[in-house]
């Protein structure tokens, strides 16, 4: 069973007023995000609930959800590390930094640590190219990365 929390309900209300009443489908990205903020990922039950709210079939919700890369349909770590690997970061050696990060966390890219603290993902361009190499952890950007800086950041996250 999935139910939106009180905080989520308030957030949903704020989102729905942005669109014409007959166009509430526009809020689907927001509702998926809110469900994910609440539970860490978007479950099939959450998609059903979103469908009920917006008069959409669960299959439709899933087809939209699967199009975008920022929704997780399975549980992820408390911190999701999105590591940019695109050209500007690549020119500044992001491959080695990514490997360093994976080693430090003792996982492969794409995996979650056993204590469910960190998930490490490859990301496409994060639009901070002139401060490359760049990663994003949950909603925070970290720029001009070095191995030492990465160690510091990860050690500070508990």
């Amino acid at each position: 069973m999935f139910a939106f929390s009180e905080t989520s309900e308030k957030e949903i209300e704020k989102q729905l007023v942005k669109y014409p009443p007959e166009r509430k489908k526009s809020a689907i990205l927001a509702l998926l995000r809110i469900a994910q903020q609440q539970n860490g990922y978007v479950s099939a039950e959450a998609m059903e609930e979103i469908g009920r709210r917006l008069d959409l079939s669960p299959a439709y919700v899933e087809s939209v959800c699967s199009f975008y890369t920022m929704y997780y349909t399975r549980p992820v770590g408390k911190y999701v590390i999105m590591f940019c690997i695109n050209v500007s970061c690549h020119l500044l050696d992001c491959d080695n930094l990514l490997e360093h990060t994976a080693k430090k966390l003792n996982i492969q890219v794409g995996e979650t640590t056993a204590d469910k603290m960190f998930t490490l993902l490859r990301e496409e361009c994060l639009a901070e190219c002139s401060r490359a190499p760049v990663m994003r952890i949950n909603n925070d950007y970290h720029v001009n990365l070095t191995p030492q800086k990465i160690d510091q950041i990860l050690d500070s996250l508990k």
């Binding site: 942005k18 014409p20 166009r23 489908k25 526009s26 809020a27 689907i28 990205l29 927001a30 998926l32 995000r33 917006l54 087809s63 939209v64 199009f67 975008y68 890369t69 920022m70 929704y71 999105m82 690997i85 695109n86 050209v87 500007s88 690549h90 020119l91 500044l92 496409e124 361009c125 994060l126 639009a127 901070e128 190219c129 002139s130 401060r131 490359a132 994003r136 909603n139 925070d140 950007y141």
Partner: protein, 419 residues
């Protein structure tokens, strides 16, 4: 140095409305509201301002294409910034959100729009919060809402967060995404100005374009058009990244030699020479060092065989291997192809696979021709411009840096012979 968008960019606390107003913020709006909407439209037209999102379409002309007398109509700001190498909109939104709001209000007034959305890429959650706070401040001061500054003009602006998909930067895919669909491009025409959001006339402009409307209206069309070249007016934010000493966003007058922009970014690193540069983001052809004096403007970069694109100048020195960087870019397009049309969905995959083989020392001589052949089968045959974007680095890399390909291929041959 003429600084229009970046004039106050490093002023402490500029994102706050008091600080913004102290530096002349919203004064342009107040004066503009004394003019008729058509006059503002004329000013933007006459200024020669062109879209800064990638295509470079004349902004005023686009506004004038809005279907007449059809209401409601919408303004959508494109803050999806995801073209690899591009990070200028992020800096504007981070440090000067009110400039964008003022620009959006001016555009909405000129175009008689009463509802605007700012489509912000999902990764910019932090910027969305900053922008929403700025919106609140602007409502409190009466710059947004009903009867703005007693002009009888109404405007509401909302944020809309994306969720990770490069293709949503393409305006029609963006509109689908805003309508709650998968972000797949629409068939054009009809263009958004005729049938856009919810089937209504819609202006879609890039963050930087809308910000530039403020200095255009503030200083007048003539002053703006006095800057730049014949076909490229005004200033442009250039995101310099890669192998330079001090990468960053720089505001330059259009027509400035590319080499000077690289110098602004600190020049090349110690002991290194320029090898290649991509002037306008990953979607445009890369150029060899010999073209670095090309004036940075729409027409000169085009004449040099590339494009100004989004204004992302990616610099590679002689430590870079063009095949390896092209592979990265190819992997990006494969990942970001929305899958709607076959030449792009399949072509991006094949380009990636063959480049991967060459890069890992398993290539064959005929692979170069194969890459060209696949590119030819994609060129102008894809549903949206992403397909053509994907082949630009491949074809330009082969044309200008064939030695990098041949080196890897001869290594592959030597490896095979040794086995």
């Amino acid at each position: 140095m003429t600084q229009l968008l970046f004039k106050h960019i490093n002023v402490e606390g500029l994102a706050n409305i008091d600080v913004y107003e102290k530096h002349g913020g919203y004064e342009t709006l107040k004066k503009a509201l004394e003019q008729k909407p058509e006059e503002i439209l004329e000013t933007v037209k006459a200024s020669g301002l062109r879209g800064r999102g990638g295509a470079g379409f004349p902004t005023g002309l686009k506004w004038s294409f809005l279907a007449k007398d059809v209401f409601p109509r919408y303004l959508v700001c494109n803050a999806d910034e995801s073209e690899p190498g591009t990070c200028k909109d992020r800096e504007l939104l981070l440090k000067n959100p009110h400039l964008l709001i003022e620009g959006m209000i001016l555009c909405a007034y000129a175009c008689r729009v009463e509802i605007g959305y700012n489509y912000i890429r999902g990764e910019f959650y932090d910027l969305c919060e900053i922008f929403e706070k700025a919106l609140e401040e602007a409502y409190e001061r009466g710059y947004l809402g009903k009867n703005i500054l007693r002009s009888e003009f109404n405007l509401d602006i909302h944020t809309h967060l994306g969720a990770g998909a490069y293709i949503c930067g393409e305006e029609s895919a963006l509109l689908n995404s805003l309508e709650g669909m998968r972000g797949e491009p629409r068939l054009k025409p009809p263009f958004p100005a005729v049938e856009g959001l919810y089937g209504k006339p819609t202006v879609v402009n890039n963050v930087e374009t809308l910000c530039a409307v403020v200095p255009v209206v503030e200083g007048g069309a003539e002053a703006y058009a006095a800057l730049g070249t014949e076909k490229s007016k005004g200033t442009k934010l250039v995101s310099v990244s890669g192998h330079v000493r001090n990468p960053g966003n720089f505001e330059v007058v259009l027509g400035t030699p590319t080499s000077e922009i690289i110098e602004m970014a600190g020049g090349m690193r110690e002991g290194r020479k320029l090898k290649a540069f991509i002037p306008g983001g990953s979607s445009v052809p890369m150029l060899p060092a010999g073209k670095v004096d090309t004036p940075y403007d729409y027409e000169s970069l085009q004449a040099a065989g590339s494009m100004l694109g989004s204004g992302a100048l990616i610099v590679m020195d002689d430590s870079a291997n063009v095949v390896k960087e092209t592979l990265r870019i190819a992997s990006f397009y494969m990942h970001e192809s929305c899958g709607k049309c076959t030449p792009c969905r399949e072509g991006t995959r094949w380009l990636h696979q063959i480049l991967g083989e060459i890069e890992s020392g398993r290539g064959k001589d005929e692979n170069i021709e194969l890459l060209q052949d696949i590119s030819d089968n994609m060129s102008f045959k894809c549903f949206c411009p992403l397909g053509d974007a994907a082949i630009a680095p491949v074809l330009s890399g082969i044309a200008n840096f064939r030695e990098d390909y041949e080196e890897l291929l001869s290594q592959a041959k030597a490896g095979a012979a040794a086995e």
